[in-house]
């Protein structure tokens, strides 16, 4: 559909944030009609198979996310009869769940170059838009090759010198690139072990690899450091190319999660304050807890802005957008940010890739607005059906309720 409102622009989890708000609001309404706790309603309608294609998921731990998240949030104590607080400050609790793809896929390559001094350069034709690509690439190679991260240089963002990698979209960077890094590092390890075995004239299986040193399992005296191996091989560098393996056929790959929100609504001013968000997700393996938290905080704060303050206001007479600066288009600041708890219920998903990672960037944001909207309903007993939930909408809704 074409409308005279300007073009769409990139946004985290396009379509899902909006769709999740609508769907999860409707689910809440359905639960209420049936006189059910919204959490219980969702657990009762839980899909073990992908309902569209009737195939299994590589993994789906949404149920665990519901249960662990609810416990952390204290859902049973916080969710109440809608609008039951006497006011004027009314509290409420709400939840919303999330699905996303984000399992990554081929093609994605990295080249890993080992220099004769034992330092490493990894080239990948992807980029780091803040998600921590530099860090996880170095981290995986460091873990496999047991080499300190300081010895590893990661070179990204230049397609002229780096092998093909995915664009930063769809939460696919880590799930596509991380397996290629692991593949490359494992290949390099095999190369070193094979070379050491040849040099020491013993079978490969007899070589023990530890922290960049290859030694004879039967005679620990016999060992070779990386510089020695390369020298004996008469090589200055070793290069390998790692690739992301294909996804398994017959499985749906999705990430899942649920977020719980607690809000306090001032019924005199219409202002909503978000007090707490608990995010419980199945996103495969966590590569780096700090980076993960960073993604979640960013996503949740962005979701909070989408729920409450960020509004593109268009002049009804001319069609021109009026909120063209960050003064009028309000994004949340530290003052608006609630207490956030992140619960990860997943380990690595072995059916996806050698790292078992699902993407996190977009899942972090998808359910936030829906959860906040449901919490606002729980506080007020009046449902606001459009975002952002600004004070004028709340006051109008409360006013018409009393008419």
């Amino acid at each position: 559909m074409h409308i005279n409102a300007g073009k769409n622009r990139p946004f985290r989890a396009p379509g899902h944030v909006q769709g999740c708000f609508a769907l999860e609001s409707i689910l809440d309404e359905a639960a209420e009609k049936l006189n059910m706790d919204p959490l219980e309603f969702r657990l009762k309608n839980y899909a073990e198979l992908d309902p569209v294609d009737n195939i299994p998921y590589t993994s789906k731990l949404l149920k665990q996310a519901y249960l662990k998240g609810a416990e952390k949030f204290q859902w049973k104590d916080k969710w109440k009869q809608a609008g039951s607080d006497p006011g004027p400050l009314k509290r409420g609790a709400g939840l919303a769940s999330q699905i996303w793809w984000g399992g990554g896929s081929p093609p994605a390559y990295v080249t890993l170059k080992l220099n004769s001094d034992g330092s490493i350069q990894i080239h990948a034709g992807t980029q780091d838009i803040g998600g921590g690509t530099y860090t996880f690439i170095a981290q995986i190679a460091a873990e496999v090759l047991e080499i300190p991260m300081e010895k590893i240089d990661v070179i990204l963002g230049d397609t002229a010198i780096c092998p093909y990698g995915p664009s930063s979209g769809g939460s696919t960077t880590a799930p596509s690139v991380s397996p290629a890094v692991r593949d490359a590092a494992e290949q390099m390890k095999l190369k070193l072990v094979a070379a050491a075995a040849a040099i020491l004239a013993i079978p490969e299986i007899q070589i023990e690899y530890k922290q960049g040193v290859c030694s004879d399992r039967k005679n620990a005296e016999k060992k070779l450091q990386i510089p020695e191996i390369l020298e004996k091989m008469d090589e200055k560098i070793l290069i390998v190319t790692g690739a992301r393996e294909a996804n398994k056929e017959g499985y749906a790959i999705n990430s899942f999660g649920v977020q719980f929100a607690e809000v306090e609504v001032d019924t005199l001013t219409g202002k909503v304050k978000v007090l707490k968000i608990v995010a419980a997700h199945d996103i495969g393996r966590v590569l780096n807890r700090k980076l993960l938290e960073n993604q979640f905080h960013g996503g949740i704060i962005q979701g909070l802005g989408f729920a409450l303050t960020e509004e593109r206001i268009m002049d009804r007479n001319t069609g021109k957008v009026l909120t063209t600066n960050l003064h009028d288009y309000k994004i949340p600041t530290a003052m608006d940010t609630p207490d956030i708890d992140i619960v990860i219920v997943s380990e690595g998903d072995a059916l996806i890739s050698n790292t078992g990672v699902k993407g996190t960037g977009e899942p972090a944001m998808i359910p936030t607005a829906g959860a906040i909207a449901n919490a606002v309903y729980n506080a007020l007993g009046v449902r606001i059906k459009s975002l952002p939930i600004t004070p004028d909408k709340i006051l109008t809704a409360l006013y018409s309720q009393h008419q």
């Binding site: 206001i313 268009m314 002049d315 009804r316 007479n317 001319t318 021109k320 009026l322 909120t323 063209t324 600066n325 003064h327 009028d328 004028d392």
Partner: protein, 179 residues
């Protein structure tokens, strides 16, 4: 951006001379928190900018029982907040000043600049040639005005975006619709 001459007078008389008679020609510059935005968005295009910061004696707050409170035009908003006498005798002013914008803006913004800042109205700040920009209509009246204060009084609109002004509505834009 149009080229402009930058003048930094050290005496009030020099400043008056530099400012001349017309706002188009020369604009005073105090904290710059409003002026810079106006210049950047080409909402003003003066020939000269006259920095007031070196003018002596304009950054004082004086109070006496008899003559009341006198606030110099170059007094920073954050200075107002720190004054006990304002907190005690003029609590509304104190409260309002404490809530203006953000700490950084309160440290830069002056009282003179605050009172003389241009409307925060989103029509004014974008490409609309509204009444305040020598156009013939106020776009807010029949447009998006949920943050505006429009009071219909004898063909007079008092329009200012009140959300930035708690307590004192200095930078209002009072206009005659039948201009």
């Amino acid at each position: 951006m149009k080229r402009f001459e930058y003048i930094q007078p050290e005496k009030l008389s020099e400043a008056s001379l530099a400012l001349g008679k017309s706002w188009e020609e020369a604009l005073p510059y105090a904290g710059g928190t409003d002026l810079y935005g106006m210049l950047k968005h080409e909402l003003v295009q003066p020939d000269k900018i006259v920095n007031l910061k070196k003018l002596p004696g304009m950054d004082k707050i004086e109070y006496s029982q008899k003559s009341g409170l006198k606030i110099g035009a170059l007094v920073k908003i954050s200075q107002l907040v720190k004054q006990d006498v304002i907190k005690e005798k003029y609590p509304v002013l104190h409260q309002a000043a404490a809530q203006v914008a953000s700490p950084q803006l309160r440290n830069m913004g002056t009282i003179g600049g605050n009172l003389c800042q241009r409307p925060r109205c989103w029509y004014f700040r974008s490409e609309f040639q509204c009444l305040r920009k020598s156009g013939d209509i106020c776009y807010a009246v029949d447009g998006e005005n949920k943050y505006h204060c429009i009071i219909w009084r004898r063909a007079l609109f008092h329009c200012s975006s009140l959300r930035y002004c708690s307590g004192f509505t200095g930078p209002g834009c009072t206009i005659n619709r039948r201009k």
